[in-house]
Symmetry: C2
Subunit: 108 residues, 2 copies
């Protein structure tokens, strides 16, 4: 059950979502169970540290959780996030980014 969100917390959340890479990551994660870092790196044609840093911000805010499987780290949307309902509300209005995943690399 999500909490109703105060304006200050909403501003911080929206700021975090106000980045194309992070927003796309989250849009993907609400329709895709989880992704490993290497998938994001390929998808965004970005450097590995850049992706890791975005993921850390999302994780520090509680929006995603990480799960190690062997040497791969998988990230998924954190349904326990306090304002998960609100985030869903925002994300589901955005077009699916599933095609960005392309042929999924099988990391596992």
């Amino acid at each position: 059950m999500g909490q109703s969100i105060e304006i200050e917390q909403a501003a911080g959340l929206l700021k975090l979502l106000g980045d194309k890479t992070r927003l796309t990551m989250l849009r993907i994660l609400i329709e895709q169970d989880c992704c490993c870092v290497c998938e994001f790196v390929e998808m965004f044609e970005a450097s590995q540290p850049a992706i890791s840093q975005h993921l850390r911000k999302l994780r520090d805010a509680g929006l995603v959780k990480e799960n190690r499987r062997g040497q791969w780290m998988f990230y998924s949307f954190n349904q326990q996030y306090e304002y998960a309902d609100y985030v869903h509300l925002l994300l589901k209005e955005l077009p699916s980014q599933a095609e960005k995943l392309g042929k999924r690399i099988s990391c596992d």
Copy 2:
């Protein structure tokens, strides 16, 4: 009728909303017809230039429109904004900020 929003435009919009002052302004403007600059200045206990600059960003993005009445400039939410529906969706989940207005200064 609002347009469906692409991810890149959504990111830019959310970035703009990801500021406490601007987010609060907009939250007020969806329940309050319009506000003049001096009301915002008092409400946020911010400097007049700071408020003007926030309003300009919102106006440049098309989120608010301005209307002069004598020496006062009134700002209101722009219902014609391409993604007005989306913005409404986000804002209506936030607590009303009407009390922030306090006793409204009558500028007109």
